[in-house]
Each structure stands twice: as structure tokens, then as C-alpha cells.
Symmetry: D2
Subunit: 399 residues, 4 copies
């Protein structure tokens, strides 16, 4: 079985998760070289994950002759340079989220990848959690009818690394860190061909003494009339809250990815040890997660990426998707400032989607607003007279 | 034990719930007369609940010599007339939600009650659920620190009675029906003295062929900086979804009032019977509720009202609260039209609330952004240099 | 509204819960006098609950001229004396669980009550929780088909009062304290006319340095073939675990009464306060209960008792039920010693129940073991040839 | 990356799950040949999973020159023959559960593997679910103190294939099918060196017209005093119920593997499609599972097996473990007949485990039975006088 040989750029938490995934279980793809600005962090990472080489030379890591795939796991402000180098080297590129700090930056990365004709995969893990993949499929199969509303929520007490808190390096606060996940989850549920039209966003900095937002809520209006809603926070208490809700005309989906997944533990303490990412306590009631790299989507994400590379096709999440996400985040930041709905400005490639609509049922010339089945099998109808605008109810024999 | 003698105005679903509560368990307060426009519905209701008298004469019901408390359980457009009559009669008045169809109407009811010097209780049951009461107390006791965000969600497939669907009679759609609950729940958690400043609201009519909104999402900005968020829908599938979430600087509360309360049943069918309000199916996995009138707050609500009447004091929920709720809903409808944040216009009696704030901890002259406890007991600090704006992390000995 | 006037015997935790229930909300029944062996505890209780009188004279409390109902909320070893006095006084008697320390003791109490012709109610609150009442009704309505198995679990870290730990005063350990609840819950689900035939029980003392069991598991075999299973423990960590599970031929019920009821709170601490009975911590993730006296069944229990008294009928839980429970617990203790199934010895009044049975469906002369619906609508049958004993499967057109 | 080349023996549901796991994601191990008694099923399986060869010749499949690992995924009565052939061929052997139909059969398989010196892995997937692995580690790290009780429950409406229902081919009913999982889960939590001493088991055939048990409950007593409890059923309604509970002196663990894992969906129908193994309905509230082969342990199981082969060591689950499980099941069947505790007869290799014990804390010469922290910080002690056997309580200053 031929696998891929990877250059891992970066040695932070996300590079650890990526490499844990690639080197976990029985994978055939291996990291061949790791890059860090710091020699010490590079060699520690190399030893931690049994990687042949480490280097502090970015170009050397990218151009390594055995490497065919470059994974960009660097802080946001370093994405563009790394992507440029890898595109020039003709390597397949997988870039962590968010793609850019702004839509402009993301668009330049998209352009450079397309110009070079190399593979560009957007490492949006939370769109690949096993629950999300199965839920997206259920929605695409029609289990929910037309999607009317999606809520995606990601909140925790704040990131672990210093650079995350510096908006100059990241492009913003909780939106740029967490909102990017939520937005792409929402897009997968409402349909990627469903154009994001405009955005209303509220941000605030309530707890941490920083310049960027530590809390935000936003609404995204899609062409079909569906509403996406995200809530992100760096001030949540109790661990990491990762939940999605989808409402449709015929059904509902609720996903809980982290704090309530069927694993509950009480301990009086003394057993120590790691509970789960962003867990706040190690005694009392705890809610660990089974296999984090699987539950958080890393396993399916890399499988999709490598299969797409092998097949010469596109992965589920592309650089174009990353660019759309950045465009929506840009609109969020504008809206937070103006207090108004702001249009999403982007080069749209997704076609158009019809407005959610249904033809009302008629009964005796009246519009049926609602039909309830009574315990005795008869049906209760709420009826509207379109002429007078009056509403009545009527109980009729069951169908 | 002396109880109260009640005139029940109305015979719909809510009048049933109220009377079930009053006549349930071992209550000392009794409905003495019921009013309905329809003689037939009145006498059916009288028999169903063993009430001495029924009448189709509104004034007679209100002025009944044995009655000391009038409960207004009528459609929205009849509230004002009933409240006026009861105030004139000098009776204590308990009025169902929403108080009015608009803040103007609510204000007139508030004024007439205050001018007459009679008791005015606002029957906002969902602020009285046992879980909500205990959660409010925990918040007031400081268990969550400063409240930063409250989400209140009430969604179901749509109301049972025809008049609910006619905005001319109700004042609106899902907001006027369900949003009034959410708004007052939010106010209880952020503090009733915390002025609602402005509102951003999105509404749409996605499924039902009606003129008013069947879906709405809104943000309410309070003086402290706290955000209230409500989601209401008449198109939700799966039953009645009643959930509240409260986030604070030191804690989190999640309440589920209906679909996930520790009662889960699978049936292949055949057992028939009532499951719970707005349940959609009677086979498969079902989620009944234990004692609905207790879980939905009716029991504690009436206890609070009668205790307040007996003590000559104010209940938790007053006509003034009902007026504030209407004022916020008015702002929601305005915002839905203008697409902008709209100020909440009301005669505010609640004083002022300070902005959420904390004094940052300093370490070596740097601002501590975050403090994490590592497995070995040491602390990892994220630090900010206020001069340069740079962030760094440092691991130090534990406290 | 005429209510009842109660003599409350005892001032411990259970007397507090009872009085909180009676004096809570808008009840018409009131405690008129409280008895405690200790003058101090009696007067403290009197003040706590605004009771007119307290006394250290048991007979005086029972014979109080205004009292028509005596509530026995005393330690187990004092039940028989109190019941005897109250029966002699001709008062209605409500006795807390367990009725006796042994079936013999319980039988004597049953006899004395029946001989005196007074009302004897067994205060088995957990058979009256709103969830349990609704679940029992669903089972009686056939939603689960024939009940095959019931699990009832009650575990916590151990009782609060010293006398509970002394088997000489109580009659045993965790079984006598907690198993009595579980047994009667099981009986309600399998049907009270379903005779408990025999019992297999394992007990052990694993944690606490006491003579009686701090852990027990038992199986109860009923005449229908249904199995009741209880698990009780005084060594459980994490709060009070109160769960019931019912399996039937057509359905399943899961009840969670305490730790997972839709109320979840995380607090970093500082808000203090009462969480729930037997809660172990006041920080981290906590799981409070809404209205404990309602959720634990006290409200519906007293309503049923007083209604039965008023109507001259029998309550759901009678002294006879208490006696059956004691007979089953006696068999448990015997079985734990002999390591064998032990018969339940009692004067059975419940009639007989047929064995769970169904007539197998036939297909082409073969017995249908199982029928599954395939995604394409066809049915897959597992078939048994009764002659050869061979099994085959066959896919056929759907019904 | 060198992987393993596998002969898959069998083409039923379990062979599908195994091959889905091996060929899923980015695995380096591949099935090279599949064996079925039926040419047609063999070639269908070959095509379904892109396997180079299929054959109806068992020996040919086992002896295939490229094969180094033989996976036995055959019905129970064919395990011994297949294991014998593979041992003779000197191939590593992975055998599905249960190892044998009886302990004798299992022992012979163990012996033949040990005599041949080949690798023998026991494919007990449910001991490898990510949740279980993490929970076992927490227990081994001391988070729960001494384990006192483990419940493992596996119930569903009955197996899909005809041969499962024929006790002559399988060795029994629900115990041999499902109990084997539960027993080994229990052993992992109480410790594999903790000898299973004796067993009490109740079985019954309540619903299906078969000769073997469709329901069973058993208690397993371990040398430490810990109790294992399993509940298995082929008559459960509502899907597949897979839950484990672990109680220890310092903590509690609850695992839910299937029906409540944070994925909840309501659909009015129409979306069709696969929900989860043993799901009963495709409309209403459904509870799908994210990635079944991961959640059910297959992924981690094969990783452990291949890593152990590569390292020349033992996997977590060995043929010896399979033999122990069979010995416990044998004792269960004996106990179900005799109605008594039956000793577990086996060649024990696990050493001995001390009885759960703790040294009681003393206070003023009295034994401390329980210590509770009061809201005011003081401690309430329940104390026992070892001389008199009397219990008292005392409130003292906090530690």
C-alpha cells in the first residue's frame, strides 16, 4: 500500500493532533519532516512522533525531495507564505483553518494554488466528524426536508497559545478562531450551493483584557431563506461546548460533539490524567471523549484528503470553501461595526438555490394551515379563508 | 385554610391548564365561575372541572360576588376589556401572556390596574418552572458570576387554536406567542434591573401560508453588556423544544424543560394515549414529561400569585413585567422590518446596571489573560504587555 | 375547602420533606402538632414549619383532639408502637417506609390497622413520582406489551442520620433503607397482582465498617415470568442515583429521577448553596433537581392519601403493600445467607397471573422467529422447522 | 509501511464489519482472500470489498502463500476447525467471539495455538471501544479507587442470521451471543488478575419460540469481592442497548455506546436509509451512531492486534481471555439449571487479588462511618462505638 510522505509545518497543538491522527491506528501515510522556527521545539516534536527529520528551514521542509504533501499547521499570519512556497514546489497542500486572516488573503492563496495546478485541501476538521458526516448525508437524503435553520456553537474558556490572543497575527478574536468552524458546518447543512447573502453579527469583549472579541453571535441569511446562526466564545465555563442543531421542514438533528457523548465519570480525585481538550477540572463529574482525533473529525478529514489526491479529484473541503468562510467572517466583522446586515462579498461559484416553498393544501376551498391527528383518529384542521383572512378550525374524518 | 375564589375567563387550552393546576393536588383555591362566549363550551368546561357556575356574560363573571380573583385566560385581543372590567370591580387580576398585543395596549392595562389600586399579576408560567426558579436563585447567589449571555428557545409545530394564527387578534406570530416567554426568562437571568437597551431581530415565514412570522431569532442587548437571545418557531419538528442556556463569567446552566427530562419511552405502538403537549407521534421513541403543570411552572406561579395577594406584596411577575416584554417585542418587530438594531422604548423603572467588568490580574507587570493549571500542578499563564500589545506564555509554580 | 389536621411524629429528614410538602404551595392540609423525643428538636421543627404545637409525649401527639391523620415519620423500630397507638385512637395512619423491620412486624401492624378499621396508607414516595405514575399508566395501557424485566436502582454514599446505620434499629442495611423503594416500584410495573415467587440476593459490606450490607443486588421472580432486579448501595459516588428501567415485549421505559433530569450546571464555585439531596460537591458540574418534593413523589403521594381518606377508599400504596415489601426483603436476607433462591413467604391476596406467552406466527408451516423490514420494503424472516429444529432465513414481499 | 495480508474466513455481518474496518480510512493491512462455503457469497463479498480472491476451499484460504494473518469470522461451530488449520499453517490467528461454544472447546483451541507457537488474538471488539479503553485506563490510574461493581448490558431484538438462533451451532442463546462481550468488559474493569470465583445466573425464554434463552441476568463474584453483573436479551425493544456502569470506592463511570451518544434525529420520514445496527424504525426520534466501526471498537481492536504481532507481544485480548470467558459462561449455564452459585472452573493463570479493604478512620476512639461537609464548612461525622455497637453523629470543625 503506497502512502503519502508529509512535511508538517508547525509544532503547536494542531500539529500534534494532525500527527497523532496520521501516525495513529494503522495509517499508511507518514510525516517525513517537521518544521518549526525553533530548533528545540522541532526536535522535541520529531522525537515525540518518531519523525525522521526536523528542520528550522521552511523552504527545506517544503521542498524535501521525499515529500509529496505539505500540511500547513502554522499560525494564521504564516499561512500565505507557506502556501506560496508549497505551490511553487508543486506539492499538494493541506492548510489548517482559517485559510486566511481576511477574504483577500484567502483569495490570494486560492489563486496561487489554482495557478500552480496543485491540490488545495482545507483542513476543516469539524465538518468531518463522524456524526457530522452522517448527519449531512441524512440531510442530503431528505430526512429533514428543506433546512430552515442551523445553529453551530463552539465555546470554551480561551485558547492555549499566546499568539491566538493577538489579533494582528490571527485576524481577529473568537470569530476567526472558532466561527470559521461554525460557518462551514452551517454551509454543509444548508447546502454548499446555497449562497450566503448577508450577515448580522454582534461582538463584545466581556471578560479578557484584549482588543478583539471574546464573544460573538451572528446570523447568516442564505439564498433559500435558511438562516445560519453561530455562537462563539472564549469565556464559556465547563469545558468545550461543541454543538450543532439543524431544523428542517420535516425533521430535526441535534449533535453534541464533546460534553455529552455517552461518557460520564465522577471521581473524588486522585486519578489525575488528561480528561479532554479544554476540560476545566479533574475531579467531580467529568465528561471525557472516546477517541478525540476520531470524534473531532481528523481521521475522516485526512482520509478524504488523501483519497481525493489519489483519485485526482476534489476533497469535501477545498481552498475555495476556506475563501467563502473568510468572506463571511469579513462580513461579520463589518456588521459588528455598523450594526447592520452586511452583504457577503465574494466571487460566487455555487449557482443559485430556490426559496424554500411549498404549495398549501386546500380543503373545501380553504387553505390548510395545520393538520393534527386526534387520539380518536380524526384530523383537526386549522383553515384559512384567503378572502377574508379569517381562521377557523374543523375536525374531519382521518385520511 | 382560607383560599381564593376565582372567576376563570376563557375555556381554551390555557384555561384548562390553569384550572387543572388550581383543582389538582390539594389546593385551597377554587374556580367558582367560568366565562365563555359560547354557552356550550362554558358548560362543558364547568362539568369537566366541577365548577359551580358557568356564564356567557363577561361582566357577570367578573363581578360575581364570591369572586376575589379574576384570571384572564382569553385570546390576546380580549385582554384589555377584561382587565378594565376587573379593575373597575376592584378584583385582583391575573392575566395570561402576552399582556397586550403592543406595548401601548399593555401600558394602558398597567395604568388602569395601578389607577384602581388592584393586584395585577402576569401569568408568565415559564419563569416559574421549578428548574427555572432554582436556576435563577443560583444565578442570584453568584454561582455563575456575571451573566454574559442567555439563550431561551421555544419551538413547536404550531398552535392548536385557530385564533392564534390570526395576527389581527394576537398582535403577531411566533414572537407574540412564544417570544414573550423567552424574553421574560432572559430578563430573570440577566436581572430585572438590567435595562434592555436595543434589539436586533430576524423574522421569516417559511412553512405556513400565513401573513405573520413562523420563525424568528432575536438578540437583546442589556445595559450590563449581557446578550439575550431567543429563537422561536412554529415549524419545529419533533415535539415542543423548551430549552434555556445561561453563560456567566464563572459558570454555565443548561435547562431542558420538555424533550429530555429523564423520561424516555419506546413503544411499538398500541398503548395509545397522551404523551405530552405538542408531541408529534405515539410510537417509536417518545419523551413524556412527568407532571406537566408542575414542570411548566403553573403550580409555582399560582402559589406565588396567591401568596403575594395574601401578603399584600408584589409577585415575581407583574403587569409592569408584561409591559416590558411587550416593549421588547415591539422593538423586535420594528427591527425585523428595518434590519437594524432598534431601541427598546419604555418607561423604565428598573434603575441602572453597571457594565460587566473585572480588574485584570497582573504578573511581573504584565496582564494575565488566562491561567491554566497543568497536570504537574504548575500554572501556565498567557500574558499581555500593554505597552507593545505582544502576547507571551510562561509556566510558573502553582499558587 | 376542608383539609386534614395532621400529627407529625418525628423531626428527621423525612419529617422535614413531608412537612415541606404539606405546607408548600397552596395545600389545605396542615400539621397541627409535631412529636419528638427531644423537646429541643420538637420546638425547632415547630418554628421551622410554623406548626401550632410540639410535644415530647407520643400519646398526646397521637390523641390530639384536632388531629384526624397521624403521620409516622419515626425510625423503623418505633413504627409498630406508633401505629398501635394511632389505631387505638381511631385515626387515619400514614406510615413511612419500610413499614416494618421484618414481615412479621409489618403483618402485626397490618392486622392492628385492619382490626381497628382505620385507614392505613404506606408512604412509598418513589412509587408516586410524576414520571413513575405516568410510566405505570403507560404500562397498564399496554404501551410496552407484557413486562419482562424491571430494574430499579437506588444508590448514594450513605444515610445522614446515625440510627440508619444500626441494623438493630432498622432491621438491616441498604436493602431495608433503599431496597424497599425498588421492590415496590418493580411491583407497580409488573402488576400488583403478579405474585413474587422467589428471590435471589447477593449482599456485601465493602466500604463502611458496619455489620450490615452496604451493597446488594437481587432478582425477584414473579409468577408471570417477569424478573425484577434491584441494586442498592451506600457506597455510590457522585450523588444519588435513582433510575428505573422497564422492558416489555413491545416497548421500553427509562426513568432518571435525579442525576440527569435536564438541569445541568457548571460553577467555578463561590455560589454555595444546596444542590440536591446527597449531592457530593458544590463546584464543577452539578445536577440539581427542579422541585424535589414533587420530583420525589411526595406531592402526589399525599394527594392520593388524602383523596382516598376523603373518598373512603384505598390509596395506591397500602399497609398490605408495605407488608409484601417486607416479605420480599425477608426473602432477600435469607437468600443472601443461603446463596440460593428463596421463596417469598406471605399471605397472598393478589390472585394469579398467567405466564407471559404468545402464539408464534407461522409461515409456510414454519415458525417465524423474527421478522425484519429491509430498506427496500421486503421482509426478512428467520424461520424454524419444528420437526428438524433447523433455522433458515427467507426474504419475502412486504405485508 | 509494511502491512499484513489477511485471509478472511466468513462473509456474514461480522466479516463485513471487520473488512469495512480494515479497508476503511487509510489502513495498510488488506484482505487478500475471502473464504465462504458458498461460491456466490464469496464472490459477492470479494467484489463488495475489492478483494483480489475468493474461494470455497477453507484450507486454500488459510494456506494462501501471501497470507500471514487468518481472521476467523465464521459461525461458532466452525471456529475450532479453522483455528486448527491456521495453527498448523503457522499463521497468526484472530478469532471472533465467543472463542468456543464451551470452555472445553476453547481450551483445545488455546492449546493448539500455544503448541504451534502462533499468535492468538481474541476479537472482543467491545473491550476496545474508544470509550472503554479510556475508561479502563482511568480505572487503572485509580480514578475510581477500588472497583466494587460493574454492570454491562447488551440487549437488542435478536440476531439477523438464522444460525445464531440454533443452540447446536452456537452453544447457547443470548448469553453465548452477547454475554461473552459483557463478561470480558467486566473483567477489564475489575482487573484481569481478579479471579472470577463463582456465578449466579437466571435465564428464561420469554418471547421467541426457541429452545435457548432469550433473556439472562447473571452475577459474577470476583476474588476481590467485586461483583460483575450482566444483562443480555434478544427481546429488547428500541434498538441496541449497549451500556456499562462501573462503581468504585472513589468514583463512578457510565458509558453509553449506542442509543444516547450525542446524535439525535427526528424525521417525519421519507429520508430512508440506514440508521444504526439493530435500529427498529426509520421515522420519529432516531439515535444514529457516528462511525460504527470506531465506536464499536473494531478500529482499535485491529490496531492492537497488528501492533502486538509486529512487536512479538500479546494483545489486550488473547485466546486465554476467550477461554476464561467461556469458562464463566459455562458456569452461568450450570447456575441457571441448579439455581445456585456455581464455581467457575478453569486453569487460572492470573494470580491472586486482595479483598477490597480500607482501614477505618478513628475519631475520639470511635470509628468514623461517614464524613459529610456541611455548608458552613464544619464536618458532620457518623461515629460507631465498636464496644457497644451504638451509632451517634457529631458536628466538628472542618479539617
Amino acid at each position: 500500500m503506497d502512502g503519502h510522505r508529509i512535511s508538517m509545518l508547525g509544532t503547536g497543538l494542531i500539529a500534534d493532533f494532525y500527527t497523532m491522527t496520521l501516525h495513529g491506528q494503522r495509517g499508511r501515510d507518514q510525516v517525513g519532516v517537521v518544521y518549526s522556527r525553533s530548533e528545540g521545539r522541532g526536535s522535541a516534536f520529531r522525537e515525540r512522533w518518531s519523525i525522521p527529520e526536523s528542520t528550522a528551514d521552511l523552504a527545506a521542509a517544503v521542498n524535501h525531495p521525499e515529500t509529496d504533501v505539505v500540511v500547513v499547521a502554522l499560525p494564521n499570519f504564516l499561512h500565505e507564505e507557506a502556501v506560496g512556497l508549497a505551490a511553487k514546489a508543486g506539492k499538494a497542500i493541506l492548510c489548517t483553518k482559517p485559510l486566511g486572516r481576511t477574504a483577500d488573503e484567502a483569495k490570494r492563496m486560492l489563486d496561487v494554488v489554482e495557478a500552480a495546478g496543485v491540490f488545495g485541501g482545507y483542513l476543516e476538521d469539524l465538518c468531518y466528524t463522524p456524526k457530522t458526516l452522517k448527519a449531512i448525508k441524512a440531510v442530503q437524503d431528505g430526512a429533514l426536508g428543506d433546512v430552515t435553520w442551523v445553529r453551530s456553537r463552539e465555546t470554551h474558556p480561551g485558547p492555549h497559545s499566546a499568539w491566538f490572543w493577538d489579533g494582528r497575527l490571527t485576524g481577529g478574536g473568537a470569530i476567526i478562531d472558532l466561527g470559521c468552524h461554525c460557518i462551514e458546518i452551517v454551509r454543509n447543512f444548508v447546502g454548499k450551493g446555497n449562497r450566503p447573502v448577508d450577515v448580522m453579527c454582534h461582538t463584545d469583549t466581556l471578560v479578557h483584557p484584549i482588543a478583539d472579541e471574546d464573544n460573538a453571535v451572528a446570523l447568516i441569511r442564505f439564498e433559500s431563506g435558511a438562516i445560519g446562526q453561530f455562537e462563539v466564545s472564549w469565556t464559556f465555563r465547563g469545558g468545550m461546548d461543541l454543538r450543532d442543531e439543524v431544523a428542517g421542514t420535516h425533521g430535526t438533528i441535534w449533535l453534541n460533539h464533546f460534553l455529552r457523548t455517552g461518557f460520564e465519570m465522577f471521581t473524588a480525585g486522585g486519578g489525575g490524567g488528561y480528561v479532554a481538550e479544554k476540560a476545566e477540572t479533574s475531579a467531580g463529574w467529568l465528561f471525557p471523549v472516546g477517541d478525540e482525533v476520531s470524534e473531532l473529525g481528523y481521521v475522516d478529514m485526512f482520509s478524504d484528503m488523501f483519497r481525493a489526491i489519489d483519485a485526482g479529484g476534489a476533497p469535501q473541503e477545498t481552498f475555495y470553501d476556506g475563501y467563502v468562510v473568510n468572506a463571511i467572517m469579513d462580513a461579520c466583522y463589518r456588521s459588528a461595526k455598523t450594526g447592520q446586515w452586511e452583504g457577503v462579498e465574494l466571487e460566487w461559484r455555487g449557482g443559485s438555490t430556490a426559496r424554500i416553498a411549498s404549495t398549501p393544501e386546500l380543503y373545501d376551498g380553504l387553505v390548510v394551515i395545520k393538520r393534527e391527528i386526534l387520539p380518536d383518529g380524526r384530523h383537526k384542521l386549522i383553515l384559512k379563508d384567503e378572502g377574508s383572512g379569517d381562521f377557523t378550525d374543523r375536525v374531519v374524518a382521518g385520511a
